[in-house]
């Protein structure tokens, strides 16, 4: 029985559907045929889809979202333990948590006690609307444009221009730093301190920002220090 492979629960803001293990395409088809069989029930519904640990790319999710929207079903959020899926969802503007309205405590509290080795590496331009949140360090090879947001439990290193918002030490780590080849952020946060950088004078050069006496301070970066 196909229907039994899909678990459906009513939640506060819509319907929560948990996909069981198995091939994504099979599970997706099972879900769609279940919806087709119960169109009246699903009409205008908002769905939260829990895909478990599947790694799904944007086209998988956007394909499903479009197919669902053809049936007048709105894909509201995708829950997953896979970082790839979470990022794909965010790129498409889908929620990745059950309820965004109540700022619930972080499921995995950002841990400031780092071993110094956990980091996420992004080789791309981060554009307006992109938001990257990671409990370790964030390393970007590319530009971070205005409207993009980086939130790291640890340090943020940008081999490129920082023009968006960067928040290092988001779990309270006051020793976190932000480095960039051109440090011109919309806003810079380290731990719980927030600062706005003055307009740049002269040519951009590599800088490092850190907390000094409770103030966000930026200094020219020089090798060997």
């Amino acid at each position: 029985m196909q229907a039994q492979e899909i678990e459906i629960k009513g939640i506060k803001n819509g319907i929560l559907i948990e996909l069981k293990d198995g091939e994504w395409e099979d599970q997706k088809d099972a879900l769609l045929s279940h919806i087709d069989d119960n169109l009246a029930f699903f009409k205008s519904a908002r769905i939260v889809l829990d895909v478990g640990d599947r790694s799904l790319k944007s086209p998988d999710l956007s394909g499903l979202r479009n197919t669902l929207s053809d049936r007048d079903v709105k894909l509201k959020a995708v829950l997953s333990t896979s970082l790839v899926t979470e990022r794909a969802s965010q790129d498409l503007g889908l929620e990745i948590k059950l309820d965004e309205s109540s700022p619930e405590p972080e499921k995995s509290p950002i841990n400031s006690m780092l071993d110094g080795d956990e980091a996420i590496f992004l080789h791309r331009t981060l554009r307006s609307g992109h938001k990257v949140k990671y409990q370790g360090h964030i390393v970007v090879l590319g530009d971070v444009n205005p409207g993009a947001e980086l939130i790291a439990g640890g340090n943020i290193i940008i081999w490129g221009r920082l023009r968006g918002v960067a928040h290092a030490g988001a779990g309270g780590d006051t020793s976190a730093v932000v480095c960039s080849l051109d440090l011109s952020p919309t806003q810079l946060r380290i731990s719980d301190k927030i600062s706005v950088s003055p307009p740049r004078k002269g040519k951009p050069h590599p800088e490092i920002a850190f907390l000094e006496d409770g103030q966000v301070t930026a200094r020219d970066w020089a090798a060997g220090k």
């Binding site: 956007s62 554009r127 530009d143």
Partner: protein
């Protein structure tokens, strides 16, 4: 032969998507290409007005999607250029009347008989935008040299990339070289520097565009205006020709050009 589907989008409203659609379509058609322009802005249609075809509409895109007419009945032939067609949007419906898969189906139906299908996207990143980019082989993002428009363009580029439509190409519209010189406007370099995508062309600010839009005659048919030349060059670049960017500093006035000719002769 199979047509290439190009979607023109911007995020922000009022930057010139519809004007660009009409003019790129017209410029391609004057080069002997068979072109259909689709107005995907359902509920706020105006590509028909810009092309001067408003009074010829009998059936629209939604009629074709919902099977009230054959697709060819919704294709309105342009009054100036042979082989330029418009598929108008419906004025009395909204974006939900069409789905992304409808758009893909319509464009696939058009492909065998045409060289280009140009889709005019509505502003925003909602359903209408999703409809417009669904059938696209290539996306052109249009922006003005203005911080808010560039910010929206950046967001749109991110979404188009996430939808795996490839990296879009950039069209900068309404650049005013005088204002750039006085440091009162972002330069084309500033915009390209931030967005970091391929620049397809720059269209200068030109009063003639507004006049032609109101008259329903695309500026691309006017060889004398700089904006018209810019659109013709964009069409030729889409055809694969290597055309250098226009020198906008010369200005569009007749006397300006005369004086620069004399100037270089000295």
């Amino acid at each position: 032969m199979s047509a290439k589907v190009i979607t023109i989008t911007s995020g922000k409203g009022g930057v010139g998507k519809t004007t660009a659609t009409a003019n790129i379509g017209a410029a391609l058609a004057t080069m002997g290409q068979r072109v259909a322009c689709i107005d995907a802005d359902i509920g706020l249609r105006n590509l028909d007005v810009v092309l001067g075809l408003e009074n010829r509409i009998v059936y629209d895109l939604v009629d074709a999607v919902e099977g009230r007419c054959r697709l060819s009945q919704a294709m309105i032939k342009d009054k100036h250029i042979p082989d330029l067609y418009l598929i108008p949007s419906a004025q009395t419906r909204d974006k939900t009347a069409v789905s992304p898969s409808d758009m893909i189906r319509i464009c696939d139906e058009l492909r065998p008989d045409l060289d280009w299908v140009i889709v005019d996207s509505p502003a925003g990143i909602e359903r209408g935008f999703k409809n417009a980019i669904a059938p696209a082989d290539e996306v052109i993002v249009i922006t003005n040299p203005e911080v808010s428009a560039v910010r929206d363009a950046d967001r749109i580029i991110g979404i188009v990339e996430a939808e795996e439509k490839g990296t879009p190409k950039l069209l900068i519209n309404r650049l005013n070289p005088e204002m750039v010189k006085q440091n009162n406007m972002l330069s084309a370099d500033d915009v390209v520097d931030l967005l970091a995508i391929h620049l397809l062309g720059i269209v200068p600010e030109d009063k003639a565009v507004l006049i032609s839009t109101n008259q329903g005659t695309p500026i691309a048919l006017d060889n004398k205006s700089l904006a018209g030349q810019a659109y013709q060059n964009i069409a030729r670049r889409l055809m694969g020709e290597e055309i250098p960017l226009l020198d906008l500093d010369k200005g569009s006035g007749f006397f300006n050009r005369i004086s620069s000719v004399f100037g270089s002769g000295d």
